[in-house]
């Protein structure tokens, strides 16, 4: 194995990360990341890790507590990676590494070593180590055994996220893959709600489940950390078996995904669906909207987010709704879900509207149209695609929501949907203009959004979901419904803000033309 060269590539990865901090956005991101990292490490290592360890040891249930903490962290790191794309960016592709004197095995090692050394996984490692240190400090575990368990657990976590990300990436490229993804998503969102109550009622199910979980990576790691009587060979065997199985699976999926998918020679066929839809925007805008529409529909990232938006928000709405006064308060939660649903489906592109154009971006300024028309067309496309999600969500609500029909609710949900769509897309205009990023159109995974776009997207989802949750708890659904008219002026304000952003954005687009060119063509 060419270890020196692989290590040099890892070093290059960090140099590239460091190089990103030379931009203004990069410096802000670095500052915030560093600040949050330090703060979270401090909090979690003391409260989450050391604190959990102290509690665990004092209660005499060190292993059970370690299982719960490690299981939670393991799942959260996996979900955060797969859903938000953190920690699974492909720093170097296999094709890019072929220019170096590396064998196939070396290239595999280089790719995954640079992958697992992404800052996100180092952060996860910090959390795991917090628990291991805590358990050792309070006398419930062997430190070096704990460190070894933590390292193996981290590898398993990274590999699991990679397997899923690669699988989804591959599925989004194959025929019928989108349908399979949709079924997988629905399953992932619905199964816990369906299975957990049944399992809770079934005799002996809990014991059987716990017995099964003993063969999971977090439980094996917990036993190594906190159970002095654990069969070390057995627990290490469990972790090693998981790592080996995931490696084999990952290699198989990567091999399948790497198969050339170049289209065979085919005559030109005119598919004017996009042009027909775009014609509703008028003859001047139609070609621009049709172009944008093709980008939205063909982007794996957008497709994945589009199909995931409704199931994900339905899951957050219905699984977290509490009961009060005999009926679930789905409606108030749904207000938040409706506000974000249209934006969530398109945000990966609408928050970075020109980031996917690569050198095509310069063509906009060669076209015989005012630059403002480009921005308008691009944003209107995002609004149009997002509005189909709002409409679909409303239809699904009317058909399936376990709430008696009330016209006020429908009006409120619709206003919330329209208002949210306008508000978030107005903000997306500003992230596209002020914090753009050159992005690879072909990838499905990896978080390639700028800091501002991430704040807007993640903050938007959390704000809407938890904001309405707080509203439900503090005010109550009956009061919310009695003020049924309030979302209407709010939506009108959001529309006005959107129109204003489009107008002002057009002049900013022109004044920042050269800066945008430099950034989007990779010269900044």
């Amino acid at each position: 194995m060419n270890a020196p060269l692989i290590l040099r590539l890892v070093g290059l990865r960090y140099k590239l990360l460091w190089a990103q901090t030379r931009t203004r956005n990069g410096r802000i991101a670095l500052f915030l990341t560093g600040y949050l990292f330090a703060l979270l490490i401090l909090l979690l290592m003391t409260a989450g890790g050391l604190g959990a360890a102290m509690l665990a040891v004092r209660s005499g249930k060190a292993e059970a507590m370690a299982q719960a903490v490690l299981g939670g962290l393991f799942l959260q790191a996996f979900i955060a990676s797969v859903i938000t794309g953190f920690g699974i960016n492909t720093a170097f592709t296999d094709a890019a590494l072929r220019r170096y004197a590396l064998s196939a095995r070396d290239r595999l090692a280089a790719r995954h070593l640079t992958g697992i050394l992404e800052p996100v996984w180092i952060f996860v490692l910090g959390l795991y180590l917090g628990l291991a240190t805590g358990l050792y400090v309070f006398g419930a575990g062997n430190f070096w055994l704990g460190v070894l368990a933590v390292l193996l657990l981290l590898v398993a976590d990274y590999l699991l996220a990679r397997v899923f990300a690669t699988l989804i990436e591959w599925l989004s490229h194959v025929r019928g893959g989108t349908a399979i993804l949709f079924v997988m998503l629905i399953g992932a969102c619905m199964l816990p709600g369906l299975l957990i109550p049944r399992l809770a009622r079934a005799q002996g199910a809990k014991g059987a489940m716990l017995a099964m979980l003993n063969y999971s990576p977090p439980f094996a790691a917990a036993a190594l950390m906190a159970n002095p009587r654990a069969d070390l060979l057995h627990q290490f065997g469990v972790l090693a078996a998981w790592i080996a199985a995931l490696l084999v699976l990952l290699a198989a999926i990567e091999k399948e995904a790497a198969r050339p998918r170049s289209a065979a020679a085919a005559a030109v066929t005119w598919d004017d669906r996009y042009d027909r839809i775009a014609s509703i925007f008028g003859p001047a805008m139609a070609p621009l909207v049709a172009r944008s529409l093709r980008y939205y529909v063909r982007s794996n990232k957008v497709r994945f987010n589009y199909i995931a938006a409704i199931p994900l928000l339905a899951f957050l709405t219905f699984n977290h709704a509490t009961t009060e006064g005999g009926g679930p308060h789905y409606f108030v939660r749904a207000l938040g879900a409706f506000a974000i649903v249209g934006f969530l489906g398109t945000a990966v592109m609408s928050t970075n509207q020109f980031g996917f154009d690569s050198s095509g971006f310069r063509r906009y300024f060669l076209l015989p149209v005012p630059p403002g028309a480009i921005l308008r067309a691009s944003s209107c496309t995002a609004m149009f695609v997002g509005s189909t999600l709002v409409a679909a969500a409303l239809v699904l609500w009317l058909l399936f929501a376990p709430v008696p029909f009330d016209a006020r609710m429908v009006l409120m949900l619709l206003s919330s949907g329209v208002g949210g769509l306008c508000l978030f897309n107005a903000l997306a205009i500003w992230t596209s203009l002020l914090a753009p990023r050159a992005t690879n159109f072909e990838t499905t995974f990896g978080n390639q959004l700028s800091l501002s776009a991430n704040v807007l997207l993640i903050g938007g989802v959390l704000g809407c979901v938890f904001g309405t949750m707080a509203l439900d708890k503090t005010v109550g659904s009956a009061t919310v419904l009695s003020y049924w008219w309030t979302p209407i002026p709010a939506a009108a304000l959001a529309i006005a803000f959107y129109v204003y952003s489009l107008r002002l954005g057009a002049s900013v687009f022109v004044s920042r033309k050269e800066r945008l060119l430099n950034t989007l063509e990779g010269r900044n």
Binding site: A265, G360, R363, F365, L366, F441, E514
Partner: protein, 257 residues
């Protein structure tokens, strides 16, 4: 006859760096005009300013007799541009991209489709109906970019390195089309580093050096006619000799190579 391009005292800076300095240039209509210079001399920056991609810091530009700035929408409709980076939308198929370009430049749907089909056949890209532009080879991408520049039959065509990566048959076809365009009184403004091509193709040439300073402009048909170009009392038998003399490019010896 109104010149196709008139540039007076054009200056473009990137921060403190001067990319083009006080460039004045006149390009007669109906010519194949070669715009030459070493790497980094400001050729692409000049084209950027002449096509509305970049905003000059100073100077005046007149295109087809009218003052030009980045908001000159009507003038842009009369121009075709093939930028150095090609400016393709990679998620589109070639025919979709060309149709988009044709529609943006005001062609009706029927004419646009007819020209797209004809251009794809002429460029030997007819079998790429299910291939996105991102999957095209460098040469194929260049052909598409050229097709996009000419699809609306512009009066003034800017081509930045049009022959790089294209196979000899493709280059021959493009040269013939360029001759045809010029013979119809339209103008081609091109940059390339292949001086033999310029020698055989262009009638007029301008040579600039870093940072975007014009050092020579003249008729090179004398090379065909007399076998030499005279400059500063010296005779040059090829454009390359003249170029190297003017730009001061030297052959560096590398002992280890």
């Amino acid at each position: 006859m109104t010149p196709a391009i008139q540039v007076a005292n054009l200056t473009k800076k990137y921060g403190e760096t001067v990319a083009v300095e006080n460039l004045s240039l006149t390009v007669p209509s109906g010519t194949l005009f070669g715009f030459l210079g070493p790497n980094g001399s400001g050729k692409s920056t000049t084209i950027g300013c002449l096509t509305g991609l970049l905003d000059p810091n100073a100077g005046e530009i007149r295109i087809l007799g009218e003052p030009f700035h980045d908001g000159s929408v009507a003038l842009k409709r009369r121009m075709g541009v093939m930028p150095e980076s090609l400016g393709l939308f990679d998620a589109l198929y070639a025919h979709e991209f060309l149709f988009f370009q044709a529609r943006m430049f005001g062609l009706d749907e029927e004419t646009a489709r007819r020209r797209v089909t004809e251009l794809l056949d002429a460029m030997e890209l007819g079998g790429t109906g299910k291939k996105r532009l991102s999957e095209f080879s460098a040469g194929m991408r260049k052909r598409v970019a050229f097709a996009a520049a000419v699809i609306h039959a512009p009066e003034l065509l800017f081509l930045d390195e049009p022959f790089e990566s294209i196979d000899p048959a493709g280059v021959a076809s493009i040269k013939q089309w360029l001759h045809k365009i010029a013979s119809q009184g339209r103008t081609v403004f091109l940059t390339t580093h292949v001086l033999e091509t310029v020698e055989r193709l262009c009638q007029q040439v301008a040579i600039i050096t870093r940072p975007g300073k014009l050092v020579w402009q003249g008729d090179i048909t004398a090379l065909d006619r007399d076998g030499t170009i005279t400059h500063d009392g010296r005779e040059f038998r090829t454009l390359e000799e003249l170029f190297l003399h003017l730009t001061g490019e030297r052959y560096a010896q590398l002992d280890w190579l």
